[in-house]
Symmetry: C2
Subunit: 168 residues, 2 copies
DNA sequence: TAGACGTAGA
DNA sequence: TCTACGTCTA
């Protein structure tokens, strides 16, 4: 089998280069890029401090992330944005993954960014590793129905070669 | 990436040997053993005829498969056995995967069997390829609440070396 | 035990 | 659009 049993950590993953492409989030788990097989924000806990290790931007399901050259605006998680039952959209809270991203800003620890993009055959998505980003700021917005949504501004760490995204 | 883009077909998959182990059903998809990433029965359609290519026996969720040396009793799919909302358990029907298994009996075409087994670390399952089987017979039973459940008796094709299942 | 940016196929 | 023997973390 392909089992790797990688260790969850902050920063680059040995052997993984910018632009590397994967078919499934479970592959990201095996390879050690992102362990949460459904969630968009993965993190570790150091003592009492949650710190983000990686995020996946995968358009749809109510999430509206934005990319602009080396800056991305990433939507926080929670609030039933992705629930099948979207009748009740709740406020997002600064906890779990959202809290980890806020802490990463304060601690200035880098976050791996993976972009879910449409495959060329238009059937489903694939995931492309886009390199390290730093959280620069975050704020609260009002989404549909007035519920609270967190937004995180991340800036790509300079000096990394660019990701050739041939899918857009 | 690990993309393989294998072709769905009946019989052995080149390069895959009995006892090979995988961590995720999505790996089975990549490798060409079983393409349906959730469903237990995978099949092809030849003209108007559905024929099973592979099945996964993965205990739990209301399914009660049985293994006894080279014979297995496999439960058909459907009837909401695996639905989160099990308040309404319906009769299984001889359609899609169940129909394909029935046709495989008539046509005497082999079916790849994959067994979902507990991992040694007890966290989740892994999947072990167990070789080719032939459907020998099938029948209807009454499950919980009197709903119809199909049962398929499959016999392992002789001459294949045995699967070393170190997980039971 | 429930929630989470899941995926392919009918 | 919905179903399907999903799979991890909190």
């Amino acid at each position: 089998g392909m089992q790797v049993n990688a260790q969850k950590m902050i920063g680059p993953v040995p052997g993984i280069e910018i632009g590397d492409e994967f078919q499934y989030k479970s592959e990201l788990n095996l390879i050690g890029l992102h362990f949460d097989i459904r969630g968009g924000i993965d993190y570790i806990t150091r003592g009492d401090l949650k710190l983000a290790t990686s995020i996946i931007s995968s358009e749809g399901n109510g999430y509206t992330d934005r990319f602009n050259s080396d800056v991305m605006i990433y939507s926080g998680q929670g609030g039933n944005l992705t629930s099948k039952d979207q009748r009740v959209v709740k406020d997002q809270k600064l906890e779990t993954g959202n809290l980890a991203l806020a802490n990463s800003m304060v601690e200035k620890t880098p976050v791996r960014v993976i972009r879910g993009v449409k495959r060329l055959d238009q059937r489903g998505k694939c995931y492309v590793y886009d390199g390290l980003y730093l959280v620069q700021e975050y704020w609260r917005e009002r989404g549909r129905g007035g519920s609270v949504v967190f937004k995180f501004k991340l800036c790509r760490v300079p000096g990394q070669h660019s990701t050739n995204l041939k899918y857009y």
